[in-house]
Symmetry: C2
DNA sequence: TTTCAGTATGTACTAAGTACACAATTAAAA
DNA sequence: TTTTAATTGTGTACTTAGTACATACTGAAA
């Protein structure tokens, strides 16, 4: 077997543009939201699109995703996870472009959207029907990813205020999962997990009996071993 | 906001080669195996590498992965799943190459490796220390992906013969997860799932009391609704 | 002071997970 | 032919987690 020179080999490879698209979820008013901008492509005039950009020649795709998040929202210390690559040859009207979808969750109240270029704003996920490119498919994939993730990891807390009531937490889960949960059992579940810190504070400005406020005990969570065995299908 | 022409926009994008790498797991002799070839790059002379190839200009990356699997093993109807994109700018010595890892599981006994180009053969996953490119990292990521997947989906059955004993099934889980399981509880678990069909046949040629043979009831599995709610972290 | 909206909590029941022990079966060795 | 080794096959007591459901409490506003 003749050995090959790497540079000569790679020079022969077909080349194509690669982009990242960020699906940035937020939560407000008991609704799951996603940040979108107006597409600036002729073909998709008036349609909404995810926040994306090309991956530069010497850039990690993770880094490109963080760059997009920073450039579009100004936030830097937020959870970001690669979800999936999308590659249909006709997915971009301008030619072959492969994109890698990233998912991010942020607290709407923490970020006041100073930058509103391209009509950047929050949309209710449930009311989005059509989008530019294959972005609806990417959004749906990320939504399913999120539904799975919030059940296995304490991701949802990134979407809530620092101090939250159990009601808000349950609303978040119900909104993301799209189902109703029994309030008593939901509270019992989190009580037995013992990962919420009771702040001995009460909700303010609610038109009814205020609930207690909690924060998530990330320190305890990070120290506790994950039990990861559980065959179930 | 001035609207842009798609083709003009894409023409400006930086372009780079994209490849797929397939991590093909098998199971034999109570060991998790993976199919590797000898790298044909000068820089990695003598080192082992995953089965990969470039993605062609108008090809879906999924399709490229199936093509690699077919070209290298001759198998066409096998489970294949995208795992993750790897993009370190220096991961390929010949220049910037992004790769998307795919994972596949196949029954070693079903495929006799007619094609043995580049010294293609099965390696014990546990004994692999170093590989060409970032392939060890990709392999590790896929192994973790597999560990998670076999607990949530009946993937492991693709690695076993059509007819298998509960002992073989348990060996598979123990090998992939790297832990010991209680035999009685393991059997009870699968008994209550009620997804194994008792074939009323016995193992042959074992130097001890033969066990019953089973097959997985894919039909029943596919018809049963997934219960997917279960907050737990 | 009553009503409203929502918080807070408990209990009985069911299902699933865990730890553990012994009898039955086959092949092979004595 | 008997014994031994290896492994299959099963059951029970206990603990933990999940589910369904009802009532009392609190604060704000009418």
């Amino acid at each position: 077997m003749p050995l090959k020179n790497g540079a000569a080999l790679v020079a022969e490879y077909p080349k194509m543009p690669v982009t990242v698209d960020c699906v940035i979820f937020g939560f407000d008013d008991n609704e799951l939201k996603v940040l979108l901008i107006r597409s600036d492509l002729e073909k998709y005039q008036g349609m909404w699109s995810l926040l994306g950009d090309v991956v530069n020649d010497t850039e990690e795709i993770d880094a490109a995703a963080y760059r997009v998040l920073d450039q579009r929202t100004g936030m830097t210390d937020i959870y970001l996870d690669q979800v999936k690559a999308f590659s249909h040859p006709k997915r971009h009207p301008g030619g072959r472009v492969i994109t890698v979808a990233y998912c991010s969750l942020l607290n709407i109240k923490h970020h006041s959207l100073q930058i509103t270029e391209n009509e950047l704003h929050w949309h209710n996920v449930s009311s989005i029907t059509e989008m530019a490119f294959d972005h609806k498919e990417i959004l749906d994939t990320c939504h399913e990813w999120l539904q799975k993730m919030i059940q296995e990891h304490p991701l949802g807390f990134n979407l809530l205020p620092d101090k939250f009531s159990l009601r808000e937490l349950q609303n978040l889960y119900e909104a993301i999962l799209g189902i109703q949960l029994d309030r008593r059992n939901f509270r019992k579940k989190f009580a037995t997990m013992d990962l919420l810190i009771d702040l001995d504070e009460m909700e303010q400005d609610v038109p009814h009996r205020p609930g207690k406020l909690y924060k998530f005990n990330f320190e305890k969570y990070n120290k506790s071993p994950r039990k990861w065995i559980g065959i179930d299908f």
